[in-house]
């Protein structure tokens, strides 16, 4: 099943997908364009931990002139950077290079501590799509990628759907693609990950406890291009959904 979190007439609702429409708990069927989309997540009692991988596809690592990492390059994000489907993300004035990153995102379903990779799928509730924007002008070589690049407000669209894990037969063989104004600029497959999802759950849970609702953004393949104000970016993953975002001009 595909789950969403939306706002209709000022009230937040959980919804599920039916025939391309949104089915609310009260039985109303609503068009996708009639609502404000939130990240497709349930509330957590404490702030969720949001992991994001850098350079986790061999081709992208090569594209950025890095050799493939020997262990995951991971950074954390905060909830303030998340936004929903069909939202706007700001490009600061004067910036030279802001790019999207289409990423398979894992939603943790159970408390996970020292999980072995063979058991890892038991700890996954579902999957969604992230667009993990980066503004490369702000890169500094201190805890890189630094938060000024990766944790800006509304710079991580998420959604539209959270798809139950049971509905994704093999998350390690899903086509990904990004379009900019309808033209395909990025295409790849989750098969290209250097560190796959079971590895990542084993790795993180070896030194920290994962909680339900925590997220793992698993990195992006090659094909990132500069995004300008007015561009409509659609990051899509096979079987999960197509996440739409529009770039708007921000202040410096």
């Amino acid at each position: 099943m595909k789950h969403a979190r939306i706002v209709l007439d000022g009230i937040a609702h959980d919804a599920t997908e039916r025939d391309g429409q949104l089915l609310l708990a009260d039985g109303r069927l609503v068009a996708p364009g009639a609502v404000t989309w939130l990240p497709p997540l349930s509330a957590t009692p404490r702030p969720r931990t949001i992991f994001a991988l850098g350079l986790n596809y061999a081709d992208h690592a090569k594209e950025l002139a890095f050799k493939a990492p020997e262990e995951p390059l991971v950074f954390l994000k905060s909830e303030s950077t998340l936004t929903g489907n069909r939202s706007f993300t700001r490009r600061p004035a004067g910036v030279q290079f802001m790019h999207y990153e289409c990423e398979l995102t894992v939603v943790v379903g159970r408390t996970a501590r020292k999980v072995k990779r063979d058991d890892a799928y038991d700890f996954i509730a579902g999957y969604t799509v992230a667009n993990d924007y980066a503004i490369r002008d702000y890169l500094e070589n201190w805890y890189r990628p630094n938060l000024r690049v990766k944790n800006r407000d509304a710079c991580t669209p998420l959604g539209p759907w959270r798809v139950d894990a049971a509905d994704i037969a093999n998350p390690m063989a899903l086509a990904l693609q990004t379009t900019v104004n309808g033209l395909v600029t990025q295409s790849g497959n989750t098969q290209g990950m250097i560190f796959d999802v079971p590895f990542l759950i084993e790795y993180f849970s070896s030194f920290m406890t994962l909680q339900p609702g925590d997220l793992i953004l698993t990195g992006t393949p090659d094909g990132v291009v500069d995004c300008l104000p007015g561009d409509v970016i659609v990051t899509e993953i096979e079987g999960i959904g197509a996440l739409t975002n529009t770039i708007e001009q921000g202040p410096a």
Partner: protein, 222 residues
Amino acid sequence: MSTATSFMPSGTVYGVLLNFRGEVQALAPHMSEPPYKAPPKAPILYIKPANTWSAHGAAIVVPAKVPQVEVGATIAMVIGQDVQAARADTALESVAGYVLMNDLSIPHTSFYRPPVKYKCLDGFLGVGQALVAAQAAGDPSRFTLAVYINGLLTQSVNFANLVRNAAQLLADVSEFMTLRRGDVLTLGCDAGRPLAQAGDRIDISAPGFATLSNTLVAEETA
């Protein structure tokens, strides 16, 4: 001590690297060399996620393979109202109060990549038992704290020695992201951070704050 009244963050906890002049002086000879290539411009932040939070009095587990941990004693700002593109002269109006923190790390010498595996272990952030209201706390540049390990004074920190004072740090962080009500931003940890190991008791005391105490315990191995 009642735990029902203990403070725990409701938002994201951000730590900051190189916000003490002593830290900067120690690294300055290497800042223009690879991999850094240039001194930092914006504040260097990291996140201490919820799995790291330990209450006052709690035992903190040290992994079996880690001989010693680094004690990052600090005071943190607790945000009272959203802070976005704040000006330094008014930024402190958004601070609800201050809390003592024990920001533990596995010692590491490179600050090139994000320090998740060094700073985000379960329990690796001792959190002071109470928030001291901003008005009662007064000027954060007058804060001092002392670290005791097994009762011996091992570090004294004076928050007059910050690179960015509390107000300037809020301004420079909120330039690129909103700090939300309930978020926490530390003022940083000075150079000379003491090391501690399983079996040690760490007490962090500061005038006006209730002492933050935690003990380190060895990981139980199967």
